[in-house]
C-alpha cells in the first residue's frame, strides 16, 4: 500500500486488473488520507464519499467483467468550477452556494465514460480570480510543503491535493496561469492545453477567450493519460477545435536529440529569485545534455502582457459574471425592486477581488474608454501572439520559469492587487496567444519550496511537450511529496 502514491495511473490500473487492489480499496485509501490530512491543508470544499464508493463499486464490477476504460477505478478531485450534475458547484463563491447543476460539463461526461471515481470538489480562488486561493469565499488552502504559505491559484485546491496525495490526479483550469502557477508552487505537473483543445461546455466562465481546463498530476505520463480523455472537439463549445486527438502518451520515452528549445531573455527578469534562476540554468543544461539545443530567442512584448491580460480578462469577466443576479439560481438577497435585488445580491455574494475586476472590466468597455483600453489591449495581444509565431521559426518549444518566486506567505500580497497580478508574468502571455503550456517540477529553493519549469509549445504540440517533459522528469529526479504526507 505504501507505493500507491508513487504509482502512475497506468501502474494503478495494472494493480486493479490483477485484483491486487480493488477500486473500492483505492478510493477508501484516498478518502482516509483526506480525512487524516485535509483538515490542515483544506484543499477539498466538498468530499463526495458515498458517491465515490458507489462509482468505485461500479468500476470493480466492470473490472471483474474484464471491461477496460482509460481511467477505470482511478480517484480524482475536481476544481469546483466544473458543473457536476447533482453535486453542488460553488466556483469558490457565496453567490453560487447551494447551486446544483442540472448537467455535467463535457469533461465530466468524458471522465464518466472513462470510468473515473469522483472524490470531491476542490477549492479555488472565487471565479478563478486570483493567484493564491486566498480569494476563496470559504477557506484558504495551504501549501503542503509549508503550511504557512499559499499553494498558488486559482487551482490551489487541485495542486495541493495532488501534492499531498489526496487524489491520484485532478482537473484544474487556467486563464492566466491558474494551473501552471499552483502546480509550480506545489511541485506537481500541470498542463494548460491549446485554447480550444478541451471543451469549455460546463466550465463556469471567467474569461471566455482565455479559459482552458487541464490536468494536474504527480507525473508526466498521468497528465498524458488524462489529456487523452478530456481533449477533443465538442459541438456544445463553438470554440472547440475540430482537429483529432492524438495519443498523448505515444512519444513518451522517445529522446529529444536535436530538439530546439528557445530561451527568451525577457522571462529571466530582475525580480527573479536566485534559487529559481539557478534551477532554470541547471534545467537548461540538463536538456542540453539530453541532446536538445538551447536557442536564445526574444519575445519583445512580454512586458506588456500583464496589462493586456487585466484589461481583456476583466472585460470578459464583467460580461460573464453579469448572470449572477439572484434570479434563477444561487444566492438571492431581498430587494425592493429588481435592480435593488441585483445590487444587494451581488454585494453579499461577490468577494472583493471579483468586484474589483468587474468594475475594471466594465470601465475598460465603457463608452469613451473602449478604444483606449479594450481595443488597444486587443491589438497588443496580436503583437504578443506574433512574437511567439516569430520565435517558433527559430525553435520547437520554449522553456521559461513558471514563476519568478517560490510560494509566498499567506497574506503577503493581499494589500496591493498589482503585486498579486505580477505573480503571473511568465504564464499570462501563453493564454493570450492561445498556446499550450506545461509546468514541471525542476527543484527546490533553499527553504525547501518547489520550483517549476514551464514548457510553452506551438499550438496543438502537446504530445512533443510531454515527450520533452518526460525526458526531463526521468533524468532529474525531483522529490514528489513532502515528508509529512509520504506515509
Amino acid at each position: 500500500m505504501e507505493n500507491i502514491l508513487d504509482m502512475t495511473i497506468a501502474q494503478l490500473k495494472k494493480l486493479l486488473r490483477k485484483k491486487e487492489i480493488s477500486s473500492v480499496e483505492l478510493a477508501t485509501y484516498y478518502l482516509d488520507r483526506i480525512k487524516k490530512y485535509d483538515g490542515e491543508i483544506l484543499s477539498y470544499l466538498k468530499i463526495t464519499e458515498e458517491y465515490a464508493l458507489d462509482m468505485a463499486r461500479q468500476a470493480d464490477k466492470k473490472i471483474a467483467n474484464g471491461e477496460e476504460e482509460p481511467l477505470l477505478g482511478i480517484p480524482f478531485g475536481m476544481k469546483d468550477i466544473l458543473c457536476t450534475k447533482g453535486i453542488e458547484t460553488t466556483c469558490g463563491s457565496k453567490i453560487l452556494k447551494g447551486f446544483v447543476s442540472p448537467y455535467d460539463a463535457t469533461v465530466i461526461q468524458k471522465l464518466n465514460k472513462a470510468g473515473y471515481v469522483h472524490l470531491g470538489k476542490l477549492n479555488m480562488d472565487e471565479f478563478a480570480m486570483g493567484s493564491s486561493t486566498e480569494n476563496s469565499a470559504f477557506q484558504a488552502t495551504k501549501n503542503p510543503w509549508d503550511l504557512s504559505r499559499i499553494p498558488g491559484g486559482s487551482s490551489g485546491g487541485p495542486a495541493a491535493a495532488v501534492a499531498a496525495g489526496l487524489c491520484a490526479a485532478a482537473l484544474g483550469t487556467d486563464t492566466g496561469g491558474s494551473i501552471r502557477q499552483p502546480a509550480s508552487l506545489c511541485g506537481v505537473v500541470g498542463m494548460k492545453p491549446t485554447y480550444g483543445r478541451v471543451s469549455r461546455y460546463g466550465l463556469i466562465a471567467f474569461a471566455s477567450s482565455l479559459d482552458q481546463i487541464g490536468p494536474l498530476a504527480r507525473n508526466v505520463s498521468d497528465c498524458a493519460a488524462v489529456l487523452n480523455v478530456i481533449a477533443g472537439h465538442d459541438v456544445m463549445d463553438s470554440t472547440s477545435i475540430p482537429q483529432p486527438v492524438p495519443d498523448y502518451a505515444q512519444l513518451l520515452g522517445k529522446d529529444i536529440k536535436g530538439l530546439k528549445i528557445g530561451i527568451p531573455r525577457e522571462y529571466f527578469i530582475e525580480g527573479m529569485e536566485p534559487d529559481v534562476k539557478k534551477a532554470m540554468t541547471e534545467s537548461i543544461a540538463l536538456f542540453e545534455k539530453q541532446g536538445a539545443i538551447p536557442v536564445e530567442i526574444t519575445l519583445p512584448h512580454t512586458e506588456y502582457a500583464v496589462a493586456v491580460y487585466y484589461i481583456i480578462c476583466t472585460a470578459e469577466a464583467s460580461s460573464n459574471l453579469a448572470r449572477y443576479d439572484g434570479v434563477k439560481y444561487g444566492l438571492r438577497e431581498k430587494g425592493k425592486d429588481i435592480i435593488d435585488m441585483y445590487k444587494k445580491t451581488r454585494l453579499k455574494g461577490f468577494g472583493k477581488e471579483v468586484k474589483r475586476r468587474i468594475i475594471l472590466g466594465t470601465y475598460v468597455l465603457s463608452s469613451g474608454y473602449y478604444d483606449a483600453y479594450y481595443r488597444k489591449a486587443g491589438k497588443v495581444r496580436t503583437l504578443i501572439k506574433q512574437d511567439f509565431d516569430e520565435a517558433f521559426t527559430k525553435c520547437d518549444m520554449i522553456v521559461t520559469p513558471v514563476s519568478p518566486t517560490t510560494a509566498f506567505k499567506a497574506g503577503e500580497r493581499l494589500q496591493d492587487p498589482l503585486t498579486m497580478y505580477l505573480s503571473d508574468i511568465c504564464t499570462i502571455p501563453v493564454n493570450l496567444a492561445g498556446l499550450p503550456g506545461l509546468s514541471l517540477p525542476c527543484g527546490f529553493d533553499e527553504k525547501g519550496l518547489p520550483i517549476g519549469l514551464q514548457i510553452i509549445g506551438q499550438a496543438l504540440d502537446e504530445a512533443r511537450m510531454l515527450q520533452a517533459a518526460y525526458v526531463f522528469e526521468t533524468e532529474r529526479k525531483v522529490k514528489k511529496m513532502p515528508e509529512r504526507y509520504s506515509v
Partner: protein
C-alpha cells in the same frame, strides 16, 4: 488621477454592484494605480494591427437546425430562489428607475 470616486460609483452601478462606503475609497485608489500601470500600452505603436479576440480561430461553426430536448421545467426551476408555477418569481421590474 486616472479615475475618480464618482466614476467608480457610476461604473459599479452599471455593473449592478453596490459598494460599502469604506470600499469606494479603497477601490478608487487600487483601480487608479492599476489603470496607471496599463498606461504602458500607450507607448506601443499599434497602427495597422488588428485586435485578436480569438487566439486559435475556428470559422463558420454551424450546426443543423434541428430541435432537441432541453431541460424540463422542473430541472430549470430546481435552483430557483423563488418560483411560482413555471415561473421564476422576482421583485417589480416595470416602472423601476435605472
Amino acid at each position: 488621477m486616472k479615475i475618480t470616486k464618482e466614476t467608480v460609483e457610476y461604473v459599479a452601478h452599471l455593473g449592478r454592484l453596490e459598494l460599502e462606503p469604506q470600499e469606494i475609497d479603497l477601490y478608487t485608489q487600487q483601480i487608479d494605480s492599476i489603470l496607471q500601470y496599463m498606461d504602458s500600452l500607450n507607448s506601443l505603436n499599434t497602427d495597422g494591427i488588428e485586435p485578436t479576440s480569438h487566439a486559435i480561430p475556428v470559422k463558420c461553426v454551424l450546426r443543423e437546425d434541428t430541435t432537441k430536448a432541453s431541460f424540463s421545467v422542473d430541472d430549470s426551476l430546481k435552483n430557483a430562489p423563488e418560483k411560482t408555477g413555471s415561473f421564476f418569481k422576482v421583485p417589480p421590474i416595470i416602472g423601476v428607475e435605472e
